[in-house]
Amino acid sequence: VHLHRDILAGTLFVVIGALALLGARGYPVGTAMQMGPGYFPVALSWLLILLGALVGVRAARARDWQPLAWDWRPLAWISISILAFGFLMPRFGLVPALLAMFPLAAAAGRQSRWHEVVLLTLVMSAFAAAVFVYGLKLPYRLVAF
């Protein structure tokens, strides 16, 4: 049993429910017969808070806690590489975006080797240009400054 994780999960659900409730403040709730745009969201928010509390309380009562091992490093590099692609793509074109994305993504792997990364970046950028721009004719510029 992994109960420490369920306390976190329960808390996460309660927080999401509370935020959804907060966000739905301004939406007219209406009546059961004439439901406004706020009716369903408010009902769901309360349901989520309830379920989250159930998950959390059930875990807290069992007290058999185990620590969680988080490893944020790979996730951080992957996210940065995706964000870099999104930022560079409309500004500089497909090829520069991929040239930045590949090394940043590869940094997430412990076993990545730099000469392989260089090769992979070049080969896959050429592949993407050929498949997406020439093959599928997506309206992207390869390089734009």
């Binding site: 999960a9 966000g23 928010s45 992957i78 996210s79 999104g86 997430a108 599928l136």
Partner: protein, 496 residues
């Protein structure tokens, strides 16, 4: 129109050179990506699904069905050779498939899995052709109350019966329903949870959720593992199973098909439950149950037939009722909606080319899987040796380009990164993302039907229990919930 004529129409559509080519491309690409280690069937479909945006609806859905079968078979290959199930439904295949591979019968296990799937596919296609139209006709009588209760049953079923904790599954459904509400409310025109971000007024894109929550989070969890994954890459001596193996697999495959078709029809249960049930059945009636788990061919044939039959049968509620039973079916439903097809009883009568074209192409997809995969199994096995450190940056690339290509808008790419982080947190907390996806797709529909049902009943909630069909769905939902709350364990595939 009789079934024969309808099937003839379907084959006419599916056998056009263009549609055959897309079916072939889908099967080949699906297997290619699905077999790559660390990329499960859901991610495979999510990644390849932007490729079909630019096609008209019939070829797009035919190609998707092909991708689906390919990805599914790719999952069977990794289960047998790597002991690494891509999704829950192939977890059971590992039990005997991997020992068979260790015992030098990898080729036979792969061939039997393809043949059993093909047998199930043929019968499953027939079942869709026979059961789809009557079910669609029956569903024409459904009002909003029936649809709401049916969706409730599907959502509760998917949350409770998949792996993991039932209460957390229910919470995930609610999170998905809430995400589905993001965007403009159809009735009042009020943007909800959009926070003045123009991109959110149209709602969160389907690709963003599918790719971010499944593919990106999957990479992050895979990279955490310290030990590198090693494939069983011993020589594949003979691909064809011998006569004894074929004979031993026939009845299990047939029984598996029956079990699978039964569970597949129930929304929310799907392939995972059926493959496990089929395996247990074979073990129960076997003369030497001790052989199971040590490389019994029946233990490969029955679950593989069952999950293919269940997947096939799951198309019936997806196509005729618009209620997907599994996460993969949710992706298919999302694809249909993006193609401008509203799944529901009207599809069968109003769009027969589409319905029967898909039914026929499923059979053709199964056949292609057989002719493509039996000879090419050596190639797929070689793909297993590609190191993950080369693969995952390429997956990231497909995630980026796929999301960007939907609207040519970088915001979708940023959202995908954010959902990747969310997906990683959920994976760490052992919250299954599949029920969330189902909730996200059904959310807007469910709200719409709830509002309409309550308006028609003048605010009287008893409408859900006074209409007989709706009452049946409500009782079924209640029974599932009661069984779960009483602690009777319906969850059968559990993580260690």
């Amino acid at each position: 129109m009789g079934v024969t004529e309808s099937l003839a129409l379907g084959f006419q559509v599916a056998l056009s050179a263009q549609n055959l080519a897309y079916c072939f491309a889908g099967v080949a690409l699906g297997t290619l990506i699905g077999v790559l280690p660390g990329i499960g069937p859901l991610s495979t479909i999510g990644l390849l699904f932007p490729l079909t945006f630019y096609l008209p609806s019939v070829p797009a859905l035919i190609m998707l069905a092909g991708i689906y079968y390919g990805a599914q078979y790719g999952g069977a290959i990794t289960s047998i050779l790597l002991n690494l199930p891509g999704e829950t439904s192939s977890a059971v295949t590992c039990l005997d498939g991997y020992p068979m591979a260790r015992g030098g019968r990898a080729g036979a296990a792969l061939a039997i899995s393809a043949l059993a799937s093909f047998l199930a596919g043929c019968l499953g296609t027939l079942l869709i052709a026979l059961a789809g139209p009557p079910l669609g006709e029956w569903a024409l009588a459904f009002g909003s109350a029936e649809y709401f209760s049916l969706m409730l049953m599907g959502l509760v079923g998917s949350a409770v019966l998949t792996q993991g904790d039932a209460v957390k599954g229910l919470a995930m459904v609610v999170v998905g329903l809430l995400i589905g509400l993001i965007g403009t409310d159809v009735n009042s025109g009020l943007p909800r949870y959009a926070f003045d971000v123009p991109e959110l007024v149209d709602g969160v894109g389907f690709t963003v959720i599918a790719v971010g929550l499944f593919a990106v989070a999957e990479i992050a969890t895979n990279l955490e593992r310290r030990e590198p994954q090693t494939a069983y890459t011993g020589a594949l001596t003979s691909i064809m199973p011998n006569a004894a193996e074929l004979a031993r697999s026939f009845w299990p495959a047939l029984r598996g098909t029956g079990v699978g078709a039964f569970f597949g029809l129930l929304p929310g249960t799907g392939p995972a439950l059926s493959s496990f049930a089929a395996y247990m059945l074979e073990k129960k009636i076997a003369r030497e149950p001790a052989r199971f788990g040590k490389g019994a061919i029946e233990g490969v044939a029955a679950p593989e037939a069952a999950n293919n039959a269940a997947a096939q049968a799951a198309f019936i509620p997806t196509l005729t009722l618009g209620i997907p039973g599994t996460a993969v079916m949710t992706l298919m439903l999302g694809a249909m909606v993006m193609q401008g097809v509203t799944p529901g009883p009207q599809v069968v009568t109003g769009n027969p080319e589409l319905f029967w074209g898909i039914v026929a192409s499923m059979w053709i997809g199964n056949l292609m899987l057989l002719v493509l995969n039996l000879p090419l199994v050596g190639v797929w096995v070689r793909l297993l040796r590609i190191p993950y450190r080369w693969l995952f940056p390429c997956v990231v690339m497909f995630c980026c380009i796929g999301n960007y290509s939907v609207n040519n808008n970088p915001v979708d790419v940023y959202l995908c990164a954010a959902l990747g982080v969310f997906g990683y947190v959920l994976a760490k907390l052992e919250c299954e993302p599949a029920p969330l996806l189902l909730g996200y797709v059904l959310g807007p529909l469910m709200e719409e039907h709830l509002r309409r049902a309550m308006l028609l009943s003048r605010g009287d909630p008893t409408v859900f229990v006074t209409r007989p069909i709706s009452l049946v769905f409500m009782i079924a939902t209640l029974l599932v919930l009661l069984f779960t709350l009483r602690g009777l364990d319906l969850r059968i595939v559990r993580r260690e």
